[in-house]
């Protein structure tokens, strides 16, 4: 058989196979199973496509909230300690109008409920990413419950409300900023029309006479010593903004204990030498110095969580932490976190 006729024969066989057109890359990838799709297909859209059946009451949500959410968001969703406040800044009139009025008038800090137009966004986000240090650990009904509690805090639903896949569409009609979004702008499409127009004037161009804004004096050193953030050679040097203070010591190698604390997420809320959200480790060491049984007591507190010793921001429980790791961390902390 000539070369061209064998090619034609091969083509004929290929065309006869039904899969040829659909799978240009044989051996690459495989079909996803229904169970796999169900495990990952967690998104919920504004039209509630993807929303699982379930329900949760404001009362159940409050219990969950106290246990899992207050550390970062405060008892009433008002906390600005870790993240921006969730609740506040909306009125009954806003719920009627679907527009948050203080967004027009004020230069106020914006809460989540002042911004969000779609309740599906909150359900989807709580379900996929909350609590912050244990995402995807809430059951479907728990997500409904926590969201019901938040909606009650925002005075969108009454205290005896039960949020469910059936009642959620009604709540959407009461979202305070539901009419507050706009899509008529040129920044969605790569060929969109710009909203601001400048011209490339080259000579004697009109400019205002004065400098409109300069860096405030107090902010000059707020980013550390700029001298150390520049190269020791080249056309310029960094300005010395150390203000006469000695340069901080070079970053020491991370100790195994600190590495453990980092890997377990402790350092998200704690630091060794200062307060962040929770107390500094040296502060804790000083408090418990010489106290008999301090180590086992603290190890239990780390696992169970607690509030009151260092203020009103609770520490969330850490049930997944092993006893060995909790013990090692506490021994390191009470020895001053060296």
């Amino acid at each position: 058989m000539s070369r061209s006729s064998s090619f034609l024969a091969a083509m004929a066989i290929a065309l006869a196979l039904p899969v040829a057109a659909q799978a240009p890359f044989p051996g690459i990838g495989r079909a996803a199973t229904p169970a796999e799709i169900a495990a990952w297909d967690i998104d919920v859209r504004p039209d509630f496509k993807g929303l699982p059946k379930g329900s949760g009451s404001v009362a159940k949500g409050e219990v969950l909230w106290e246990a899992k959410c207050t550390a970062c968001h405060g008892t009433f969703g008002e906390s600005n300690e870790v993240f921006a406040p969730l609740v506040g800044g909306t009125t009954k009139a806003d719920i009627e109008a679907g527009r948050v009025k203080t967004l027009v008038t004020g230069d106020v800090s914006r809460t989540t409920f002042m911004k969000v137009a779609t309740i599906s966004t909150l359900w989807d986000y709580i379900n996929r990413a909350m609590p912050w240090n244990a995402p995807k650990s809430l059951s479907t009904d728990e997500v409904y419950s926590v969201l019901a509690y938040l909606l009650n805090l925002a005075e969108i639903v009454p205290a005896d409300f039960v949020l469910s896949n059936e009642t959620i569409a009604g709540v959407q009609k009461r979202m305070p900023n539901r009419n507050g979004m706009q899509r008529e702008h040129g920044l969605w499409d790569v060929k969109g029309k710009p909203d601001v127009r400048n011209v490339a004037c080259m000579k004697d161009c009109p400019v205002s006479a004065s400098v409109a804004s300069v860096l405030p004096e107090h902010a000059k050193g707020a980013h550390g010593n700029l001298k150390e953030q520049n190269r020791p050679v080249g056309p310029a040097r960094g300005i010395d903004t150390s203000d006469g203070k000695a340069a901080p010591a070079a970053v020491a190698a991370v100790s195994p204990s600190l590495a453990l604390a980092q890997s377990k997420g402790c350092m998200a809320c704690h630091a060794v030498d200062k307060r962040v959200v929770g107390p500094g480790y040296q502060e804790i060491a000083a408090k418990y110095k010489g106290e008999a049984g301090a180590e086992s007591k603290l190890a239990a507190k780390v696992k169970a969580g607690g509030v009151g010793t260092w203020g009103q921001i609770p520490m969330p429980p850490h049930p997944a932490l092993s006893d060995a790791d909790a013990g090692a961390l506490v021994r390191w902390i009470v020895s001053g976190a060296p």
């Binding site: 240009p24 890359f25 051996g27 690459i28 079909a31 996803a32 796999e36 799709i37 990952w40 297909d41 998104d43 504004p46 496509k49 300690e81 870790v82 948050v100 967004l103 027009v104 914006r110 989540t112 911004k115 966004t121 989807d124 990413a129 995807k136 979004m181 702008h185 040129g186 920044l187 499409d189 790569v190 710009p194 601001v196 400048n198 490339a200 004697d204 161009c205 400019v207 205002s208 400098v211 409109a212 804004s213 300069v214 860096l215 405030p216 902010a219 000059k220 707020a222 980013h223 700029l226 953030q229 520049n230 190269r231 056309p235 310029a236 040097r237 903004t241 350092m267 998200a268 962040v276």
Partner: protein
């Protein structure tokens, strides 16, 4: 050297031949008052100094051979994965103090003030994490393409790395880059004002290859959702025409696999679009017929306008530029010649031209563009400047191939107010004072 009166703050490079060890140490410690006295005593001129202290024989750097010229250096592979010089410690990614409360939901900025060309070294790429970063075992990572497709499919990294690969250079800029400066000047240096931008060569597979492979619904599939595998499971909506254009599923960056902080082993690359859409640790692509209004397109990354409404799905990073040297927080060495340099980019295409002004925008000159000039990629520009010692305000203004001219901050504010946070692509001004110190200012 012409006669001159040294001003406080300006750096006088001292010929070390006429300073003794103690005096050199004093200079190194930054006691510039000493320099002023030394130069005053020496008549402010090298000739005078030489006359006063005996003939200048030359610098010790040349006259006394250093150890590295007289000994044996380090062996190969002493550092199996290479590191920058010990003298480059200043150039690091840094957090802006007070911007965020917790470092696992924060941002670190790239040190643009000390970078060259257009490629960001992988270790200096800016970071933005919403719920901390992970180093994921690539053998256990999966990508699923599902939704409005003929057949939902699962791909391993092996599968993805066998598919036809492409390599493209693109910038990635956070939508909130320069966001702290909408109202007024807030940060001292270009690292903090513009450092949420990086530019790399990415290697991976076209998203369209995967969408075709799964048989996406060409009639009703109008959008795709991209989702990450980390705790935040970041999600963003991308219109189908963008997804089919130049979007990539990338596993490599600058010739090596992605860094964990940048999404190892798989991330989405969405050229021209803000960084939040470049989903890291990419695990899932869903084809759908409506937008998703996810948290990062319904609570964050929405731009507050003067009428109290928020713009939703703002994505494209419009044409922008910034002079990186000299820039805020630096002091010029002295009067004389400088190669003023900076970066320009556009999310809508190529940079066509960059103009630079040294008098606060009254008069402009066109800068040299360094090649390659690529679409949706950083472009380096350079321009000659001889500083005469008088105050100056340096600005750059980029124009892209759609003809769009980078706006002034007052023009942006006239349309968008001051509360937007996102998409501030205004012309940046750096004021050079007569001491040589460069400060962040707003001039328009």
């Amino acid at each position: 050297m012409p006669s001159q009166r040294p001003l406080p703050g300006r750096i006088q490079p001292a010929p070390e031949g006429f300073l003794d060890a103690r005096q050199i140490e004093a200079v190194r410690k930054g006691r510039r008052g000493f320099l002023k006295r030394a130069f005053a005593a020496a008549g402010g001129a090298m000739a005078g100094a030489a006359a006063a202290q005996g003939a200048f024989k030359g610098e010790s750097e040349i006259l006394e051979l250093p150890e590295h010229s007289r000994g044996l250096g380090q062996p190969v592979a002493a550092r199996a994965y290479g590191l920058p010089s010990q003298f480059e410690k200043g150039l690091q990614r840094r957090e802006s103090p007070g911007l965020t409360r917790v470092s696992a939901a924060s941002v670190s900025f790239a040190p643009l003030q000390g970078m060259f060309g257009i490629i960001t070294p992988s270790g200096l790429h800016f970071e933005r994490h919403h719920q901390g970063w992970w180093d994921i075992d690539p053998a256990r990572h999966r990508l699923m393409v599902m939704g409005m497709v003929k057949e939902a499919r699962v791909y391993t990294m092996d599968d993805l790395m066998r598919l036809p690969s492409i390599s493209r250079m693109h910038f990635i800029e956070c939508g909130a880059n320069t966001g702290m400066e909408w109202g007024n000047v807030a940060v001292p240096t270009v690292q903090y004002s513009h450092g949420m931008i990086s530019c790399c060569e990415y290697t991976g597979v076209r998203l369209s290859t995967l969408l075709d492979h799964c048989g996406y619904d060409r009639k009703n599939g109008k959008f795709v959702l991209a989702e990450g595998a980390d705790g935040s499971s970041m999600t963003r909506t991308i219109p189908m025409d963008r997804a089919l254009d130049d979007v990539m599923v990338a596993y490599a960056m600058n010739g090596e696999m992605l860094r964990p902080e940048n999404g190892y082993p798989l991330r989405l690359v969405v050229p021209g679009v803000q960084g939040v859409s470049w989903v890291k640790y990419l695990r899932r692509i869903e084809v759908g017929d409506e937008e998703w209004a996810t948290k990062d397109e319904a609570v964050h990354y929405i731009d507050l306008m003067p009428d109290g409404r928020h713009r939703q799905y703002t994505s494209i990073q419009e044409c922008k530029s910034v002079v990186t040297s000299p820039s805020g927080g630096q002091t010029l060495l002295d009067k004389g010649y400088y190669n003023v340099t900076g970066l320009a980019w556009s999310g809508r295409g190529k940079v066509k031209r960059v103009d630079v002004s040294f008098d606060g925008g009254r008069n402009w000159r066109t800068a040299r563009l360094e090649g390659p000039v690529l679409s949706k990629c950083l472009t380096r520009f350079n321009i000659d400047w001889t500083w005469d010692g008088r105050p100056a305000v340096i600005q750059s203004r980029a124009i892209d191939d759609t003809g769009y001219v980078q706006p002034k901050i007052n023009q942006l504010r006239a349309v968008r107010g001051t509360r937007s946070i996102y998409h501030n692509n205004a012309i940046q001004s750096w004021k050079v004072s007569e001491t040589g110190e460069v400060g962040n200012v707003q001039v328009f």
